[in-house]
Subunit: 353 residues, 2 copies
DNA sequence: CCATGTGGTGAGAGCGCTCCCACATCCGTG
DNA sequence: CACGGATGTGGGAGCGCTCTCACCACATGG
């Protein structure tokens, strides 16, 4: 007010961040040179570089991201889009793994992770605007449903995008990381058949998610290959409660079942509860195979036989893929498919063996 | 190249976002008026407002956050700081709840959530720089340890901050949301005593976290009030594996225990495994009380008696608190403490009753 | 000897936005 | 009819940064 009023900023209480100008003055160089020294240091003399480096430390300088963003058109952040705002769904270890993995991939970069959780319909339009508005450099989309047209919209938008899970609409050149869900379902069927179960049924995932559909198709094929009847199929929502509900339907319709494949561990838990609630024993009367290899269910009780997927690795890969797309938008990237593996535990033991 | 080269942006392929100038032109008003219409619309005639609104829709205009940020000194995003980058730790439903809750609190605001997961020591300095660099308008810090001096540093920095969990250092005026952990521990002790257990021990949480310390203090007091001996205390790390390890120590040192309080459900799971592995029965020989009311452990097996905390609600409150601090930095906010409640299930059944 | 680099530098423009201020209306009141 | 006070409007500066460009020293080649 009384003086120059445009002091280095130290007196502003709220945000004492020094500007590049201040940095340059402190280092005894021009703003341009300081800027160069910060960004890679090409065409900067060793002395100038050293002076700037020292000044950075002395002043505790951090570049103003907004200002940089304004001119570079890069924001230094990517979005993780999760169209499931529900705490119940978030409990799924899948999300913890995805978040951890993507974060891991970003380590070393100075990129930050912005979490975009949007209820479908509700504020998905808002999410799309945010994504298209250039507020992030790229997006990782996860757990999408058929009705979400992320693939189409983002694919045509030009925003670098990577999917975790095979998108419904292909041909938009959007790379993705996925598990071989088909093989996973097939493995479950073959395993149940191999342990002597003959009357099989499945609690599948939501019919509007490719992961669920693929697991189901694989399951059917596996059952067929084992020479067994294609049993009943009920769809659940991947949660424990949904699995229990589906299991009630399944077992009331087909009480003779002796092997059930649930397309998620959480649903498998629900199935086990219902089976036991009906007075039948697991695995003696009914064998159960889950999907995900949820760590909590590994050792708990008798242990759940399940199909395992390297979720964290998949997320790391997705993150790295996205960074590549951002840095080189022209490059066409192939999908990365991880193999599924069966982990045998107590829930399919005994019986014929 | 050939013409003005500064076209509205539609031809830039990458990011076709129209600028405020374009918007104003389309609406037939000045840049200033358009800006006013967008931000609250004070001192804007109804006609101008309508024209701008229409143009926004027509052009699909989204304000450039970077540019706005540059002048307003507001970024429109807040950080969620989680000093635990480990997938194993992330599995804890606590984080899912926190993320969901904070996100819920942000709904309606146009704030975005930036996830900052930093390994202590490793890149916590980087995290601090990011936070202090004015890249976010505020921060929610969660699951901090005594060695993390977030409270001190952020408290003096002036960055609006809210803690989830009581911070170690008080007196920095940093508001927080917490559970009455002391009462939770006390409830666990009194319940075990009430069901006739007399030889009690506990697997406490990390000694460098206030939640763990408070639970332990409450537990000790509860044991004392019941007229029992203060039993052995072993510290775990809140994970299942950590709980199992602690339980081995606990039980090898004190094989006579008939009641154990684990400071987290995940640890309780580890304790149960070890107890059973040692040939003893839960709850007949040893009763177990957990903490968190993890949904997976509610119905699974016999059901875990536990202390419940409204994690999502707490996170929502933290988010709302933060928004208040951001909007009114002067206001002094009181901590919000939620009550703890005991949920009795199978793991403490039978015995004396 | 001048032409042509080549590494290092600084001035200046401008990214898209908000906010201050000057100005132009249109009131109601003395 | 003159005047202060609303009410609405547009021009302009400037937020902190990057990037182009002109420039200066030298070195190198003919």
């Amino acid at each position: 007010m009384n003086e120059k009023s445009r002091r280095p900023g130290l007196l502003q209480a709220g945000r004492p961040s020094p500007t590049l100008e201040d940095l340059a003055t402190a280092a005894g160089v021009s703003r341009s040179t300081a800027s160069r020294a910060i960004n890679g240091g090409l065409k900067v003399s060793p002395e100038a570089q050293a002076a700037v480096d020292a000044a950075i430390v002395a002043l505790g300088y951090t570049p103003n991201r907004a200002a940089r963003s304004l001119v570079t058109r890069r924001t230094g952040s990517i979005a993780l889009v999760i169209p499931e705002p529900d705490a119940r769904v978030m409990m799924d270890p899948f999300f913890a793994a995805v978040i951890t993995g993507v974060n891991e991939a970003l380590r070393g970069t100075d990129m930050q992770l912005v979490l975009l959780m949007s209820r479908a319909g509700d504020d998905s339009a808002r999410t799309m605007r945010y994504l298209r508005g250039g507020h992030v450099d790229g997006a990782i989309v996860v757990s999408f449903h058929e009705a979400d047209d992320w693939a189409e919209t983002l694919g045509t938008t030009g925003l670098p995008t990577v999917f975790i899970g095979r998108p419904w609409a292909m041909g938009f050149g959007v790379p993705y990381v996925d598990l071989d869900n088909f093989e996973g379902g097939r493995l479950a069927a073959r395993h149940l058949a191999a342990t002597g179960r003959t009357r099989l049924g499945t609690v599948a995932g939501p019919a509007d998610m490719t992961a669920a559909v693929d697991r189901l198709e694989g399951w059917k094929q596996g059952v067929r290959e084992a020479g067994l009847q294609p049993g009943p199929v009920i769809h659940g929502d991947f949660t424990t409660a949904g699995g229990a509900e589906a299991a009630r339907d399944l077992l009331s319709g087909s009480p003779e079942l002796d092997g059930v494949f649930a397309a998620s561990d959480l649903m498998a838990l629900g199935v086990i509860d219902v089976v036991r609630g009906g007075g039948r024993k697991v695995p003696e009367d009914v064998a159960i195979v889950g999907f995900d290899n949820h760590s909590l269910l590994a050792a708990n009780g008798m242990g759940l036989t399940t199909v395992t997927q390297p979720m964290v690795d998949m997320a790391v890969t997705a993150g790295k893929l996205l960074i590549r797309v951002i840095e080189n938008p022209e490059e066409q990237l192939e999908p990365v498919i991880y193999p599924a593996e069966l982990v045998v535990r107590g829930s399919t033991a005994g019986h014929g063996d």
